[in-house]
């Protein structure tokens, strides 16, 4: 059934495999890419792909706009009431919009074998996952943050609140993308993962929603939003530190 080729008499001294690999590579005139270079290329690749498929980019934004439009129709067109609801509306819209795009974060890459190649590239999968998530934020979180002030304005919020709203959604969406990356990686093995992905991600996103809505509320009332903004920042930093690790581990499991 199987065969063994010649037995080895001498014992091999423990060798540093990485130095052997490097030596082999340099022998052939090859320079290995560093982790930063690898992450940069992973980021550029996702951005280039996204601009080839612009339809997918617009979806979360259109969804966000629709959600904000629904509230005045369903509740009341009175601006004073809408203004009170604005923080909640903006944040629920942003949260659901970013959730909508999450399904695409790793799915295509898992399907066409890109994730497998990433996992076998010898590069840090954590760094590559971070690059992918950062690309995802640039493509959905940042546009949502830019659109949030518009949505707030349409709900009767004063223009003075724009910087505060922009900032809080921008910082909060970083945390949302990172939390989402864990959920997206965990549900890779599942065919119709949309609902499960929401169930996994939404509870974890609650702190972001709470502090984000509070920051937006304070911005609308012209008060200092430093305290909730700092907490949002802390969540984003926590996400940057831990989420790519968790996503990389989940991707490895999905590849088995």
């Amino acid at each position: 059934m199987s065969r063994r080729e010649g037995t080895v008499a001498q014992a091999f001294p423990p060798i540093d495999a990485s130095s052997a690999a490097v030596a082999a590579s340099t022998a052939a005139g090859i320079r290995r890419a560093g982790a930063l270079e690898a992450a940069r290329l992973a980021l550029l690749r996702d951005l280039q792909l996204a601009f080839r498929k612009r339809g997918q980019l617009v979806q979360p934004l259109a969804f966000f706009a629709m959600v904000t439009l629904l509230f005045p129709l369903a509740i009341s067109p009175e601006l004073s009431r809408l203004r009170e609801l604005a923080p909640g509306v903006v944040w629920v819209g942003a949260l659901l919009g970013s959730l909508l795009a999450l399904e695409f974060l790793f799915r295509d890459d898992a399907h066409d074998g890109t994730l497998e190649q990433y996992a076998l590239s010898g590069q840090s999968l954590t760094a590559l996952m971070f690059a992918k998530t950062f690309a995802h934020w640039l493509l959905t979180g940042l546009p949502l943050a830019l659109m949030a002030p518009l949505a707030a304005l349409s709900l009767g919020v004063a223009a003075t609140a724009i910087p505060g709203i922009l900032l809080s959604v921008a910082v909060g969406s970083v945390a949302l993308s990172l939390i989402g990356s864990i959920g997206a990686a965990l549900t890779l093995g599942i065919k119709r993962s949309g609902a499960l992905l929401s169930l996994l991600t939404l509870p974890l996103s609650l702190p972001v929603l709470i502090f984000g809505a509070r920051a937006t509320q304070l911005a609308i009332h012209g008060a200092s939003l430093l305290a909730p903004l700092e907490l949002l920042g802390a969540l984003a930093v926590l996400g940057i530190t831990l989420a790519p690790l968790a996503a990389a581990a989940a991707v490895r499991i999905s590849l088995e």
Partner: protein, 208 residues
């Protein structure tokens, strides 16, 4: 630099109730090629995926230069290429762009070198086309170009000649021969066998 060697000891793997790998063991030295034969479903792909560390075997281990690959997977991965059934290409990027990103994640690669590799696999005429417009054989050729660009010690190839024409199969043979000549190793899962030009081939049969 000590010569690389791959040793596989008594691999056992179950997939649910199915005992897929039943005590596979072999040793592969520099410049040697292993052909893995077996019917569909006999575990050829599973063996390759176990070798490269994507799948954990229930029993047995894979040794690279005498050390268990589990101890330093990134270093082992830097020393290998795995090409699966489907070339890992993005249908919305061109052949050249695909290669640029795929290889670039692993090593620095210049435009001329990319062009030379694409020319080598006969892709000059269509390397600027989106991969979605390419045929299965053309996609396979793009994957072969990656081999030309990654002369790492160990190649794990899953049916490298699938969907290729006669000339394409010869190209696979040439690439493998060059790999063996510079002291590299190849493990290839095959259906029809590798081209005749490849020497120093050992055969491993997996029972269905």
């Amino acid at each position: 630099m000590p010569p690389e060697r791959l040793e596989v000891e008594n691999l056992h793997l179950w997939r649910g109730e199915r005992h897929v790998l039943r005590g596979v063991h072999f040793t592969l030295a520099c410049g040697a090629c292993l052909e893995v034969w077996g019917a569909n479903g006999s575990g050829k792909t599973t063996l390759l995926r176990t070798l490269c560390g994507l799948v954990y075997p229930e029993e047995g281990r894979v040794l690279w230069n005498g050390a268990n690959v589990r101890r330093d997977l990134p270093a082992f991965h830097a020393a290998l290429v795995y090409l699966g059934h489907e070339p890992p290409l993005k249908s919305d990027l061109t052949a050249r762009e695909n290669l640029h990103y795929w290889i670039g994640v692993r090593r620095h690669v210049g435009e001329e070198e990319l062009g030379a590799a694409l020319a080598r696999v006969g892709a000059q005429g269509w390397c600027e086309r989106l991969v979605r417009t390419l045929s299965a054989g053309q996609r396979r050729r793009v994957a072969l170009a990656s081999l030309a660009l990654l002369p790492v010690p160990l190649w794990l190839l899953d049916e490298p000649t699938t969907s290729l024409d006669a000339e394409g199969r010869e190209l696979v043979g040439d690439l493998i021969r060059e790999q063996l000549e510079r002291g590299g190793m190849v493990v290839a899962a095959v259906h029809q066998g590798l081209p005749q030009s490849v020497r120093n081939v050992t055969r491993l049969d997996l029972a269905a």
